[in-house]
């Protein structure tokens, strides 16, 4: 860089806005103390809403800033919208819980805001350094919120586990980045892509082994973040141990951001190496689908069950990435959007599982829910059938597009394994329906569940149920976003 030029701040406006707001809100919190939690939560939601609008009305054209480290394009816009919706909705859903369960500290919404900011940065990262900074900003905030209930052993354990394993994966990521930097001489995604394509041509199509090792380490670290098998071990424990609103947040937002990063890294700088990383993705996809289907069968805790189910869902989303085509990426994006809605709804149901002020988590606590709380039972049944992929619910369409991409690429084995595991997975989803509808009713849950929870339940339920009627906005957004990764 010979001379210093002022970066184009407008491109990164939502992120800068969120960064400023979170600092201001932090100050507000410090001065007002814990009684301001409610206010701060709403302010955070408003800030996310404002950022959402900025993302949407901002330019959809491909533009980079900060010397190419930060990129904004239709792909990042699609993903940021998802993340912001997910984060805002989980904040709203969790308000009741935060108040009741002794988590009423003003840091909570602000940490979520910081994590969200980290995710936006990850999604827009166009450089290995930017990637790492975004990822760490997100992860550090998440480690803390996972352990936010200091008085709860399980919560502390979850936070610690997440931290130790997360640190390990960050280490792997850094190691991979340094290998790639060492062998290409660049950290920017665009430059790495050029370097790889030149080097690949030179040596009879063979790729320098250093880049390959770097690629494997980066993939492993990102697989850890999306909790794909075999890097999934932390997920069930963290999901079970973390406070439920935090778990809901984990399932909705960071997964999507990490998946966005996964897509951008593999299809951006490493696009040339598709035949190399494809093997990894196919393996972790099959392994995730299979583990998600079989390991969830024996679970008794619903949060743990959803953790395994989320591993399976990531496996399905990765089917689209394995296809390595615009159609495949479109499938992944549609899948993520639908999965986010379903999982938000499911966690809204879990948050409503409260009896005489006690939060419940066992699946058997749901027994006979269709008699005692028919509305919640209906909503949860819709989400479960949808996650199982039964048409005409939304989850079916998610699977439809990823499998379509796989078949288009002739990956028949992958598609067949995928649909078979989805049939196996259907078993544990319908088990929840069975418990709610076929078993003898237990005592009713506390009523009312609160306006926030009910509106989230209704919203997500309606989207899941009637997605088939008007899928165009999601399809078009995903289409535009996917096309961008394939210049």
């Amino acid at each position: 860089m010979a001379e210093f030029t002022t970066p184009d701040y407008l491109t990164a406006l939502p992120e800068m806005f969120l960064a400023a707001v979170s600092l201001v809100l932090l100050m507000v919190g410090v001065f007002l103390g814990n009684r301001s939690t409610n206010l701060l939560t709403w302010l955070c939601v408003v800030a996310m809403g404002a950022a959402f609008i900025m993302v949407l009305v901002g330019s959809h054209a491909h533009s980079t800033t900060f010397f190419g480290m930060f990129v904004s394009d239709s792909f990042s816009i699609f993903m940021k919208c998802l993340v912001l919706i997910g984060a805002a909705v989980t904040l709203i859903m969790g308000m009741g819980y935060v108040k009741r369960e002794g988590m009423n500290r003003f840091e909570f919404p602000i940490l979520i805001l910081f994590a969200t900011l980290g995710m936006l940065l990850m999604i827009s990262a166009n450089d290995l350094i930017a990637l790492y900074v975004g990822l760490e900003l997100q992860s550090l905030a998440l480690y803390i919120v996972a352990a936010f209930r200091r008085d709860s052993l399980r919560s502390s354990e979850a936070g610690l586990k997440y931290f130790v394993l997360g640190a390990l994966s960050s280490g792997m990521l850094l190691y991979g980045c340094s290998m790639v930097y060492g062998f290409t001489g660049f950290t920017g995604f665009d430059e790495i892509a050029v370097a790889i394509s030149h080097q690949g041509v030179d040596a009879h199509g063979a790729v320098p082994i250093g880049i390959l090792i770097g690629l494997v380490f980066i993939s492993a670290a990102l697989a850890f973040k999306v909790s794909a098998v075999p890097f999934h071990m932390w997920t069930p424990d963290v999901y079970e141990g973390a406070p439920t609103p935090v778990t809901a947040f984990f399932a909705a937002a960071p997964k999507i951001a990490a998946m966005a990063l996964f897509l951008r890294v593999l299809l951006g700088p490493f696009h040339e190496l598709l035949t190399q990383w494809d093997q990894i993705i196919i393996f972790i996809s099959i392994a995730s689908m299979a583990l998600g289907a079989f390991a969830a069968i024996g679970q008794k805790n619903i949060k743990r069950l959803i953790a395994y189910s989320s591993i399976g869902h990531i496996g399905y989303a990765l089917v689209g990435l394995a296809a390595g085509t615009p159609e495949g990426v479109r499938g992944v994006l549609i899948y993520l959007a639908i999965y986010m809605v379903m999982s938000l709804g499911t966690f809204a149901c879990i948050l409503a599982m409260r009896r005489r002020g006690q939060m419940l988590e066992r699946i058997e606590d749901l027994s006979g829910l269709s008699k005692t709380n028919p509305a919640i039972a209906l909503a949860l049944a819709i989400f479960m059938f949808s996650m199982a992929g039964i048409p005409p619910l939304a989850g079916f369409f998610g699977k439809l597009y990823v499998f379509m991409a796989a078949i288009e690429q002739g990956m028949y084995a992958l598609a067949v394994i995928g649909v078979l595991t989805s049939a196996v997975g259907a078993y544990y989803y319908i088990r929840i329906v069975k418990v709610m509808y076929f078993d003898k009713p237990a005592e009713s849950f506390d009523k009312p569940i609160g306006a926030e929870l009910s509106s989230v339940l209704i919203g997500t339920g309606v989207i899941t149920m009637f997605f088939f009627a008007y899928p165009t906005p999601v399809l078009e957004g995903a289409q535009a976003a996917a096309a961008l990764l394939f210049p």
Binding site: M404, I430, Y437, F438
Partner: protein, 513 residues
């Protein structure tokens, strides 16, 4: 013909009724009463519209009629496409005919959660009508799979003692079969660029591709139909489902498998169908003989009827894979007849079950002394199930065997033994339940059919006799469409099966032959 979207109306009217039931307010008794009435009248109106539709139906053309088209996923060329031809129109009629009968039959039998029950039934009706009226493969699949949800709930909530096990088995078996069907749809879509059924019928597939697609479809339809050895979910589901659920299962859901073969496997993959015909014949013959023998030994009335369904559907598949007009028309007619007869049989069991709460054959005997009208109805239906001339069962079986004799005498002979066995188990069942001395204490005060029960048996009995004595109106409607189907398969089948055989490993090909 008018511009009025009659098929959409029929398809979604029940859903509208379900939404309406959801809005009913009041105490439990009011809700139950109003739900019953709304469900009944919605389904009756749907049936009425279907009758109008068949009056308007043009029997001289094999084209799809009452077509409706609207873009649905325009980016993908997937449309909302409805239409009926001579083959599907009767299934539509059968569905809308049976649903009101089911609703009347459970008027008093279902006492708990009436509102949910009626909603599940109406949603199920929409799905069933959708299966038979959609002309887009993806839509077909959505309806085909979508009915798993209401049926799962119907078996699981209102079923018998082992309802949970049966509901799981039904759900997972069917799902496992149909996911492969979904992959086949995706593959066909990617090759042909459309999921429109009429367009796909004009597509010519390479023999090797046909084999795999045929097998994927077979996985789904064979489970649904069900063919031996994929039938094990059926006895469980039938036995545990509430009476109306069994009626719908036997009367309509099983027919979807047969309809799938007619709509997809035969016209789209004629070479593979011809190649696999001996395989289908073998499975069907085994089904006919084996399940008939199993039926002979059952202690449970519903189980006996369930096994007899497998046997009858075996005869249907034999007819469908003869590739001649008699066989296929016979197969369709037999499906319609079985739809009515098996529905009636389950209702007959339901009548005594409501009174005595036992399905064991051994707990009955001598009912004729207390229930003469019941005995009469039971007799007519039993004879129809056996295939006595002048009942609907005869016409279908006769046509099928006329068709089969032209193709393979052995299949015809073995298949006919099933008919004999059918007479054995049905008549034996009838003798044990109806005749003999009335010795059991709890049967001495049993009452004959009530007006409500006569009300829903009367149309069934009349229809069984009408179809048996004067089948012409039905066959007239079927005929042109079936001729067209036969022409489609004949045209494509010019040695295609041998090409298919060459592509498979020798051992496998020999085994299948």
């Amino acid at each position: 013909m008018t511009d009025w979207p009659i098929l959409s109306t029929v398809t979604f009217l029940p859903l509208l009724g379900a939404a309406f039931i959801l809005l009913i307010r009041g105490d439990e008794a009011t809700i139950a009463r109003n739900s019953r009435h709304v469900a009944l009248w919605t389904s009756v109106v749907a049936f009425g519209i279907c009758l109008l539709l068949i009056l308007d139906f043009d029997t001289t053309t094999a084209e799809f009629q009452f077509e409706e088209y609207a873009p649905w996923l325009p980016e993908f060329g997937i449309g909302y496409h409805l239409g009926v031809d001579g083959i599907s129109v009767f299934f539509l009629l059968l569905t809308t005919f049976l649903v009101p009968i089911c609703i009347i039959s459970c008027w008093e039998a279902v006492k708990t959660r009436v509102r949910e029950y009626m909603i599940a039934f109406l949603v199920l009706e929409t799905m069933m009508i959708g299966v038979f009226s959609s002309l887009d493969m993806l839509m077909f699949y959505i309806f085909f799979e979508g009915q798993l949800i209401p049926m799962f709930l119907i078996i699981g909530i209102w079923g018998g003692a082992r309802r949970v096990y049966s509901a799981y088995k039904f759900f997972l078996y069917t799902l496992l079969g149909s996911v492969l069907f979904l992959l086949a749809i995706l593959f066909m879509y990617l090759q042909a660029g459309t999921t429109d059924i009429p367009a796909l019928m004009n597509e010519v597939w390479a023999p090797a591709v046909q084999t795999w697609l045929w097998l994927a479809l077979f996985a789904s339809f064979a489970v649904k139909l069900p063919m031996w050895p994929f039938h094990t979910w059926l006895p469980d589901a039938h036995v545990e489902a509430p009476t109306a659920g069994s009626v719908i299962l036997a009367g309509i859901l099983l027919k979807m498998g047969g309809y799938g073969f007619l709509r997809f496997s035969l016209p789209m993959f004629p070479d593979a169908s011809e190649f696999f015909a001996p395989f289908v014949f073998s499975l069907s013959v085994v089904a006919v003989i084996y399940t008939s023998l199993v039926a002979l030994m059952q202690q449970d009335m519903k189980k006996l009827i369930a096994y007899s369904s497998v046997a009858h559907m075996g005869i249907v598949t034999i007819g469908l894979f003869t590739f001649n007009a008699q066989g296929i028309e016979g197969g369709i007619f037999q499906m319609l007849s079985h739809g009515v007869v098996s529905a009636a049989l389950f209702l007959i069991v339901g009548v005594v079950y409501d009174r005595v709460h036992s399905r064991e054959i051994a707990s009955y005997g001598g009912l004729v002394h207390r229930m003469p009208v019941y005995a009469l109805v039971f007799m007519v239906i039993t004879l129809a199930s056996i295939g006595l001339p002048a009942t609907s069962g005869f016409v279908g079986e006769f046509l099928i065997f006329v068709g089969v004799f032209q193709v393979n005498t052995w299949v015809a002979m073995l298949g006919l033994t099933g008919v004999i066995l059918g007479a054995a188990y049905m008549l034996w069942l009838y003798r044990r339940v109806i005749f003999g001395e009335l010795t059991k204490e709890n049967l001495k005060s049993i009452t004959d059919l009530k007006m409500r029960e006569i009300g829903f048996f009367a149309p069934l009995v009349v229809l069984v006799l009408f179809m048996g004595i004067y089948p012409k109106p039905f066959l007239d409607v079927l005929h042109v469409s079936v001729e067209n189907l036969v022409a489609q398969t004949q045209m494509a089948r010019t040695g295609g099966a041998d090409v298919v055989a060459d592509l498979l490993p020798d051992a496998l090909a020999r085994a299948l032959r």
